[in-house]
Symmetry: C2
DNA sequence: TTTTTATTTTGTCCTGGACAACGAAATCAC
DNA sequence: GTGATTTCGTTGTCCAGGACAAAATAAAAA
């Protein structure tokens, strides 16, 4: 049963796993190999992690997901880590994104909601997703790494974006009905924001989207796609997926899927597209999504 | 690194943990104590669970979350388990819910979407949530246990409901601006549907809601509530939370929160309300939510 | 009936070793 | 020089079986 009593003091290993996303086994093996983290022990010899260590672990997890090697991060002292973080200072962005980033605070939730809504109206859905949401989401992540926004601020941002995107999907429903697209992610992939952006753009383009959310087992995807008479299966992969996972799952899926069902894949996880089997369409930029839908229609002689 | 190669054959323990939600430690200790599951081993002696076992484990997890004792479930053979499942056959429900339940299939996604949308229009948001979504969600879960709907069907249902609710939240925004409510769940609680329903009803009632999504650490909730000048903090607990977790987290939070910020708690996890500290408002039924908002206004002399 | 106290049940945590999947560098073929 | 293959160090996951506390249940007392 979960232990969650002490909210500010030290945390047992299970709570650290939950809070950082680092498996218990990994935490223990890091301690054994690198000497970090080096948690205190309670009367029974059970690990108790200090809030500072948990914070550093969260940071490490984030840098890890961005492609850094563990050995560099774990053995790094504060200053080395700071240098790595500093390297994340982004190239100058569009000024409207900088302004929005300043509003990503729980204390300014109302302003952020209003500003996002207004930007959507100004830009239209497609430009809003490509030119605002995509860079802004990255900037929020980077700002978190630099300690400029808190965990709660990031949660708030995700919630607001999800509200906006799902409302947009609802608003664009019924504009068209082809192609019929099934969207989801593989079981290892838990990030659903990219999927939602794709669904919104496809729906706006007149496709009829059905999303299963994240983490659908491969054979379930296969069965659902065949039985549901879909024209396209679209998968989203985030950067943390290994190249191997991506190509393996896609090739397996391509093999199990009827030939007439197209297979599309997008997201930051799509790096080495050369090892993909034939019949898989890599979507390297979110901005290409509408064109993919239009291309499909051209090839299949449909109007909407 | 994740292992996910064999999609239909046997799964390693990590994949089973991911698919069933049962921790690796628990799976191993069950095997040791009860002899179930009894997975095959690969050349290295690592466990390989059969798809049938994984399916049974998923079932057990579900019944576990509904309050059954592990020993009864794990040692039960197929027929005993079937009897338990049979006991879940629900009391007769409103006929419109039965009709909707029949549409919870990936193959009928379009019909389900249309029917849900139409029911929302007919009933209005509040009745839709209380009289349709709440019973229907329970029915979908029970139908899954009985094997009448698939995992993907349930995923689809969640996605559609989330689209509808978030679109409704967007549509009702700006109707009012008090009270200012912060919504979230504690770190152990990952179910967000109830939270979303509450947010929709509160927003429709004219409250200004800010949701942090699920799994916010207690001290983060505290800090965000104080700094964000909220009037109310609202938490949602599902049935799987132990009574202890619920009362502990609420009492801790009540103590750390300024007196003028109200603390509301709702969801199936709210059972023993007698051990709650003063100054915590239990919301035992989702239908009571609008009245709570109105009561707050009365007590604080606000109109909207 | 309600409260207190024993007794199960059950999940989480421990150690330290092992090995394969991964990434990167080095080697070889063209 | 460019591209494919092999080598090697790095890294995460898995194993065993013992231990103990928190939760749930049964029993006893008020």
């Amino acid at each position: 049963m979960p232990k969650d009593k002490p909210t500010q003091p030290h945390l047992p290993i299970g709570a650290v796993e939950r809070d950082t996303g680092l498996p218990k086994d990994t935490l223990r093996v890091w301690e054994r190999r690198y000497g970090f983290p080096n948690p205190a022990r309670d009367a029974l010899g059970e690990r108790l992690y200090s809030p500072e260590d948990v914070e550093k672990l969260r940071l490490i997890k984030r840098l890890l997901d961005q492609g850094h090697r563990p050995s560099k991060l774990i053995t790094a002292d504060a200053s080395t880590l700071a240098a790595l973080i500093e390297a994340h200072r982004p190239s100058p962005e569009a000024p409207h994104c900088e302004a929005l980033l300043a509003l990503v605070r729980v204390t300014r939730a109302d302003e952020l909601r209003a500003a996002l809504g207004q930007t959507l109206l100004q830009q239209g859905l497609v430009r809003f997703i490509c030119d605002t949401l995509t860079p802004l989401t990255r900037m929020v992540g980077e700002a978190w790494v630099r300690g400029e926004v808190q965990v709660v601020d990031e949660h708030l941002y995700s919630e607001l974006v999800e509200n906006i995107l799902r409302a947009a999907i609802g608003a664009h429903l019924g504009r068209g009905n082809s192609p019929r697209i099934l969207l989801t992610t593989v079981p290892d992939e838990e990030h659903g924001l990219g999927l939602l952006m794709a669904e919104a753009m496809m729906t706006a383009e007149g496709a009829l989207c059905t999303s299963l959310g994240t983490r659908t087992p491969l054979n379930d995807i296969q069965r659902a796609a065949s039985e549901g008479r879909f024209d396209v299966v679209a998968l989203s992969y985030s950067a943390r997926c290994s190249v191997r996972t991506v190509t393996d799952s896609l090739n397996t899926l391509r093999q199990g899927l009827p030939q007439q069902i197209a297979l599309w894949a997008g997201g930051a996880g799509l790096r080495a597209t050369d090892k993909l089997a034939a019949g898989i369409l890599p979507i390297l930029q979110i901005a290409d999504v509408p064109q993919c839908v239009r291309d499909w229609r051209t090839q299949h002689g449909k109007r909407t």
